[in-house]
Symmetry: C3
Subunit: 242 residues, 3 copies
Amino acid sequence: MLFTDYGWRASYVGQLKTAIYQTNSVATIIDLQHDAPVFNPRAASYLLASLINFVSTDAVVLAIVDPGVGNLARRPLVMKADGRWYVGPDNGLFNVIAKQAEQLAFWEIDWQPEQLTKTFHGRDLFAPVAAMLEMGESPEMTNLSTDEINFLDWPLELAEVIYIDDFSNALTGLRGDRVSTDMRIRLGERDVGFAETFSAVGEGEGFWYSNANGLVEIAVNQGQAALAYNLKIGDPVHMYLP
Amino acid sequence: MLFTDYGWRASYVGQLKTAIYQTNSVATIIDLQHDAPVFNPRAASYLLASLINFVSTDAVVLAIVDPGVGNLARRPLVMKADGRWYVGPDNGLFNVIAKQAEQLAFWEIDWQPEQLTKTFHGRDLFAPVAAMLEMGESPEMTNLSTDEINFLDWPLELAEVIYIDDFSNALTGLRGDRVSTDMRIRLGERDVGFAETFSAVGEGEGFWYSNANGLVEIAVNQGQAALAYNLKIGDPVHMYLP
Amino acid sequence: MLFTDYGWRASYVGQLKTAIYQTNSVATIIDLQHDAPVFNPRAASYLLASLINFVSTDAVVLAIVDPGVGNLARRPLVMKADGRWYVGPDNGLFNVIAKQAEQLAFWEIDWQPEQLTKTFHGRDLFAPVAAMLEMGESPEMTNLSTDEINFLDWPLELAEVIYIDDFSNALTGLRGDRVSTDMRIRLGERDVGFAETFSAVGEGEGFWYSNANGLVEIAVNQGQAALAYNLKIGDPVHMYLP
């Protein structure tokens, strides 16, 4: 199960898969998403958490989002949470899942490949480790305590736009089942109310709904919400009771 | 075999595959196309029909194109046509294939998943049903007669642009083997004649040809036909004998 | 292992895979890259060569890049180089790999499918041949001597931009391990020096580095090199010792 910010262009995803198959030639690889919020592990963390309930409970999730600032060589991390394995950098990407988990453990990866480039740890380090874990093998790694993990202070929900999809819908880091459907979202000088589905509002009308992964999402029926309301990833989302 | 309008961005295709593997962990999934004409099951129906002859005769085809208007919750449909299974909404998407089929049957899906969201029937309902059919299992469903199916009055060919590819070639819903190569296509104030291949005309010259799937396609050698002739999906295509 | 210029849109890649599975229903297909430089087998040849060391040594590589000019129906070629099979048109695409190979042989494909369209040899001819080779079967083909192969005079390195990725990094056809890190690259009126990684230079600063596949790559830390320096595929790359 792959979740990255690599994009579908170029050969980055292809090389990741090549590396996985080199270790485990019978791996089943699912591309969950390859346009996770670039340079934004925080937004990506809420997005990944919203997808994980639909993933097999014994899956190995290889997730990589470049933090974009500072040293790229974050501590390489393995997390086990409620049966699923997670492999990736210790930059906060797994933290929303971690906070919701009932069973949780962390390890730092000690295993080293024969050749480790400075700029493609996904292919050289994380992919083989994920492939080993899927085969039931255990790469060399050292147990970490929870308080050694970065960014575990992030809140369970994020009142921000965390992703904008191809239909120009804006996903937020808020959970739809934790807010009243009486609430509205202020978007600059306009605001939108709740609707259960697209067809419940008129053509061109904006609304928010609880999407198929449980997140509050801002949309326009047959329109383009992010364009219409000038929304981008990171914008704050103000919900209020009128 | 997946044919959708989900696009490659976001996690929609990834979640579809996750749901298929949850039911059938050894499924072989082929992404046939994920940029079927958005909000246009009619154009998509001609496109899908042009691709189907190259698909294995025992394939399960999971096809989803959002009609964009009215209630999204169209009757969930299973069609069996000449050995292949088709799973998707009853919005016309399978109708061109149905009209060409020698053996044909329809069912309404009665099976229900434990959790059915309002906005992602592809993942929650259609994907598990397709996975069951590929395993040889039969989900609960009720036979439908042909006259209960929507839009079966669509013609066998469509004189419209049905798709524009990345090379800016414009595919039409017309069959190349049913028109004379003496015919020309009027495109605004210009028109183009037939050529067998790209290299048969000069650089920058427009022409039409019968593409590798049998459809009349408008192209420009080393150029961009849809841009040059200002073509978009749904534009009428006028063929005439000069 | 697929390497093409088909793009992810439309059904071209999907049809290629469908054709492979028709011949070999248990094939393992990896999408290495589908946005190889369009109409540019020369640039693509250096790109493919940079990726090949990470590919399994018994892989079958199906590679297609349209030359864009002249007759599309180039001689269909099979190459075996250091254990790996390569299938595609004889347009130079495999030549950088050929020049580096210790064991090398070429064949012209004589095998013909029942139905061969004029415009989709990838699906009709190359895909089944690649699938047969992966199964250990041998399609009909005739040995060729090396001096019958097109474009084997291309140099081992190319001082040009050969690809621009989604992050606007510009890859060149030069090998990082064959140039001194004291060298600079002139880019119009500006120039950039070497840095080991992105984080070694300031935000917005340009540099060149040896990328994870060994190529000299021009980048800007948290910026967009190709945009900033107005680079496109085919632009010459001037390295010099200041």
